[in-house]
């Protein structure tokens, strides 16, 4: 039975505030992917159903989705970079986060957020491949 290490109430609260924030942060990259996915399908669906199968409307639709994709990818890269740093918060050069300490918990959340950013990055690319490779609504 490991004994808990109690710190003062002040420090606890500060730590929880920070962890709550990084707990929230790990969901941001997948959320960006989900929003990008929904928005891309909505834009493509509306263009193809209401406008033309081919021509300038489709070019515009591809540009809009392309721009949205760049924004989404930029945000995900930024989040990935931040969580990478959070994961490697120590100066010891080790990327381990398996100890029941608040520092390792902090790192673990960075680790998880980093992996989720990679998955979200790939997800966004997969979502947008049809726009890249298929030039019309047909």
């Amino acid at each position: 039975m490991a004994r808990r290490q109690w710190t003062s109430g002040e420090a606890d609260r500060a730590e929880f505030r920070e962890e709550r924030r990084s707990l929230f942060r790990i969901t941001v990259a997948p959320t960006i992917w989900a929003l990008h996915f929904a928005a891309s399908y909505a834009v493509a669906g509306l263009t193809c159903a209401r406008l033309a199968d081919d021509g300038p409307d489709v070019v515009l639709m591809r540009l809009v989705i392309g721009a949205g994709t760049l924004v989404a990818l930029g945000l995900i890269v930024w989040l990935g970079w931040r969580s990478w740093q959070q994961w490697d918060a120590s100066d010891e050069g080790r990327r381990l986060d398996d100890q029941p300490t608040s520092r390792d918990r902090h790192r673990f959340l960075g680790h998880a957020a980093f992996l989720l950013s990679i998955v979200s990055f790939i997800g966004v690319i997969y979502t947008v491949l049809p726009v890249l490779l298929i030039g019309s609504c047909l």
Binding site: I122, Y126, L129, P130, L133, I134, G135, S136, L138
Partner: protein, 335 residues
């Protein structure tokens, strides 16, 4: 033991071989002759061979670590295997398949630039209408036919699909992919057959009792032959030649066949059943289930429902044999 194992190996090699040899013939996606079917056949083989190699690799590894080398592996190697084999390799494979598959799609959905067809799924036959290259499909079709499509080799035909009452699906495996036909909605596809020949299609969406008996032939012709054929197909029916055929035409009129069937150039204008104007020129009877000959025609008119359960055509078993035969002569002569 040794013998039975040898037998098993033999069966394992032979089994798939026998199965694959059944994939030949006029209705097979594995003997593709249309541009779209050829692309899909390529995709199929790439997937099959790739999946087989991966299967062998994975099972080989399992065999290796459970039977051949049962010592411990270094954590570095294990970690590398998980990241390399579990993340990077599938990522590369899935991404390349996605790019390969997606880049094949625009061609599959390309607009046709030649003849236009509209095919309507009926229970259990196909209504087929043609517009020549460049014609406006808002105009009436130049030719109406049924239960067979003809296409010129080497150009991409535009095909509109719809259905009368229930959903059907149009599929000629040797030429291209399948697409559903919906009542009240028009879907489109295009086909680019490359070699002259007769291929078989089949309704691919359950549409009732005789769904399995709803097939059709696709006849791919040289472009010149096709143009000549379409011109002839647009003509009215040839008047009956000879005593029997003339007698057959009379019976056709007397029996009221024209209430359901059209024979252009005669008073028969019905639209409930297939257009019979050039019936005798088709390669099969009753949506691909019978040969186009006198025998089959007589059997069909006598009792359609015994050949195709539920067929929406009454039987004419009250007709004398001579009358049936005359009717068949007349219909067979409608080239």
């Amino acid at each position: 033991m040794g013998k039975s194992r040898g037998l098993r190996t033999f069966a394992m090699i032979l089994g798939p071989g026998v199965l694959l040899s059944a994939c030949d013939g006029p209705q097979s996606a594995l003997s593709a002759t249309g541009a779209d079917a050829i692309a899909m056949e390529g995709l199929f083989w790439v997937m099959l061979i790739g999946a087989t190699l991966i299967w062998i690799l994975i099972n080989g590894l399992i065999y290796y670590v459970t039977r051949v080398y049962t010592g411990s592996l270094s954590p570095r190697l294990a970690h590398g295997l998980i990241v390399g084999g579990g993340i990077i390799f599938p990522l590369v494979v899935v991404t390349s398949l996605l790019v390969y598959g997606l880049s094949a799609m625009p061609e599959q959905r390309a607009m046709g630039d030649g003849v236009k067809l509209r095919i309507t799924g009926e229970q259990w036959w196909w209504r087929v209408e043609y517009w020549p290259e460049g014609a406006d499909p808002a105009n009436p079709p130049v030719a109406v036919s049924a239960n067979e499509i003809r296409l010129p080799a080497g150009s991409r035909a535009e095909i509109e699909l719809t259905a009368a009452k229930v959903i059907h699906s149009f599929w000629i495996p040797a030429l291209g992919g399948k697409l559903d036909m919906f009542p009240g909605r028009v879907t489109r596809m295009s086909l680019k057959p490359l070699s002259v020949g007769v291929y078989r299609g089949q309704c691919a969406e359950f549409c009732g009792q005789s769904h399995a008996l709803m097939a059709l032939n696709a006849v791919v012709m040289e472009p010149g032959d096709f143009d000549a054929w379409l011109k002839a197909e647009a003509q009215d029916a040839a008047p009956p030649k000879g005593y029997a055929a003339t007698r057959g035409a009379e019976i056709f009129a007397q029996q009221g066949c024209g209430a359901c069937h059209a024979v252009r150039g005669t008073p028969a204008r019905g639209g409930v059943g297939p257009d019979l104007t050039h019936l005798g020129g088709r390669t099969s009877l009753a949506a691909g289930i019978l040969p186009m000959d006198r025998e089959a025609l007589m059997k069909w008119i006598l009792s359609p429902a015994s050949l195709k359960p539920g067929a929406r055509m009454p039987g004419y078993d009250h007709l004398e044999r001579e009358d049936l035969s005359a009717l068949a002569t007349y219909l067979e002569g409608l080239k």
